[in-house]
Amino acid sequence: MLAYIIRRMFQAVAICLVISAMSFFMLFLNTDPALMLLPPEAEVADIAAFKKQMGLDRPVLIQYKDFLGRVVFHGDFGQSFVYKVPAVQLIMERFPATLRLALAAIVFINLVAIPVGVISAVKRGSFVDNIFTFFALMGQAMPLYWLGIMLIIIFGVWLRWLPISGSDSFAHLILPAITLGSWILPVNMRLVRSGMLDVLNKDYIRTARAKGLPEWLVLGKHAFKNAILPLVTVIGMQLGLLLGGAVVTETVFAWPGMGQLVLDSIHMGDYPVVQAVVVVFAVCVVVGNLVADILAALIDPRIRLN
């Protein structure tokens, strides 16, 4: 098990390196920050002087090496071109709120998706199953901003149960987490349902019943642990989707996350910030996947022993 974890951690570091290089080079190839930052009437000499000052005239590989060195050893992505403060500082002010929202959404998604998926599978084809499927499709079909606004109207304005903006307390987290999660929730529900249906037809379930186990043990022990495996492996990837997808939700609920910052930085070519965001997201996704892989290996011995 330890060997498996160490091997996976090395892979994770390698992936982070590749992503940092890709983010660095892609931005470099796509935009010229000097042109974007200087006024259109800037002279060629001014542009050259600006590039020299910012270190943009040096070979790309040298710039990447510097970039990587600064990032790895100092956590320094450079100064934001727009805000004139360190990019990392901009992100760290906002990232925790976004991460909190994404994690809350993951918790919400699976707290609902797992029991609902299991019930749907066990009661396949029943009225309950059809109702769940209907809501799942509806959840997937609704645009996030619309759902967010509806939740605000119902729970914030009419019922006055929950706060509609800000991030001061746990209550503030509920509506944004539901909004953000509603889009992935049906996916996970279907995944649990189909995983469970698949497992319920397995020979070892018949064996468990033949042993005289009560149905709750057959489902809760023998079926569930096998059925949950596909879900565990996608949760790591979904963390990335949720971090990226949080922009709309954050806007609707005035959540102080990094969604708006990301959009603005891309539009304005503020590429120290964009690079920092890409790397921070990538690290989150890689760590999420690593945790998912370790969980999967804990569940299924065949993974850790191969």
């Binding site: 020979d203 018949r206 033949a210 042993k211 005289g212 009560p214 065949r302």
Partner: protein, 332 residues
């Protein structure tokens, strides 16, 4: 008097059992009017090809028929004097794994891949005998050594995929006989195994049967397996019992054309291949569609000796000689 003694010795008595599956295409009559008894301490072989209803009969005894679409539509299953079909699901659970155990064809897929073999064997003790985790593990180690698994202390913590096919079937057997069941139903327990391992598993089962005095219902399509371990044989075809006798009687005087066909299809050592003459004999034709059963004898379409009466009237299972029943118009 004789009759009463037989009743006392009977462990399981199936009367007129019919199990149907309701599908969109129609009702599949998987088992139709099956009768047989299993005596205490005896081994009954149930012989037949795939789809003849032998596994469905076994699952009906265990009441593990997936429902819907399956349904035991009539009959009675008397086990130790009580009708299992009248049991509640709770009562049935207390029988399964304790009084009647079952092992399956595929040891590869019949064990749960995410739990250790010790956990899966021990479960039976925890459920039926209320042992705690530590005691259950000790019992599991004991059972593993009883079924001939080397270094059981180590194996008990291993997962199914770490064991060979033969070992997994031994684990299945250990799991099944843990609570000393009165009846062990073995559904093609050796089909998925190598021939040498097959012999070992059959020897193991025969030994355990003798030691523990349990009855065995051995389901197989392999005449060799039946000959090895059974006292009595039931031959099934298209959901019905077509012949029933002692093992010697069946091999010496098979009466039903289907049983004869099965016996004839065994290649004999020393048979020479002659050009133009088929070296392997088969029973030509196909099993009838269980949704649209033909009128008359179900084997008629494949029977080499078919007569007009066979196509029109359904033959009944009748006793031709003492202890030898057959469902055929032409027998006797």
């Amino acid at each position: 008097m004789m009759n009463q003694k037989t009743t006392e010795q009977t462990l399981l008595s199936i009367k007129n059992l019919s199990t149907y599956f309701h599908t969109p295409e129609g009702v599949i009559r998987a088992v139709e009017g099956v009768n047989f008894d299993i005596l205490k301490g005896a081994c009954l072989g149930v012989l037949g090809e795939s789809g003849c209803g032998k596994s469905v009969t076994a699952l009906s005894i265990m009441q593990l028929i997936p429902s819907p679409p399956g349904e035991i539509s009539s009959g009675s299953i008397q086990f130790a004097g009580k009708d299992l079909l009248r049991f509640s699901s709770r009562q049935m659970r207390s029988i399964r794994g304790k009084e009647i155990s079952m092992i399956f064809q595929e040891p590869m897929t019949s064990l749960n891949p995410v739990y250790t073999v010790g956990n899966q064997i021990g479960e039976t003790y925890r459920i039926h005998e209320g042992l705690d985790a530590r005691q259950a593990k000790e019992k599991s180690i004991e059972m593993l050594s009883l079924v001939g698994i080397p270094s059981p202390q180590k194996r008990v913590d291993e997962y199914p995929h770490q064991l060979s096919g033969g070992m997994r079937q031994r684990v299945m057997i250990a799991m099944a006989i843990g609570c000393q069941p009165k009846l062990l139903i073995a559904d093609e327990p050796t089909t998925a195994l190598d021939v040498t391992i097959q012999a070992q598993i059959l020897d193991l089962m025969a030994g355990l049967q003798e030691e523990m005095g349990m009855s065995i219902m051995m389901i197989t399509h392999d005449l060799g397996v039946i000959a090895e371990i059974s006292d009595k044989v039931v031959v099934m075809y298209a959901g019905q019992v077509v012949e029933q006798s002692s093992i010697d009687e069946l091999f010496k005087h098979p009466l039903h054309p289907y049983s004869r066909g099965l016996l004839n299809s065994i290649p004999k050592l020393g048979d020479k291949f002659v050009r133009g003459k088929q070296p392997l004999r088969e029973i030509s034709g196909q099993v009838p569609d269980l949704i649209n059963l033909p009128s008359g004898c179900l084997f008629a379409s494949r029977c080499p000796k078919v007569e007009k009466k066979c196509l029109e009237n359904v033959p009944q299972l009748i006793e031709i000689a003492p202890g030898h029943d057959v469902r055929c118009w032409l027998a006797g």
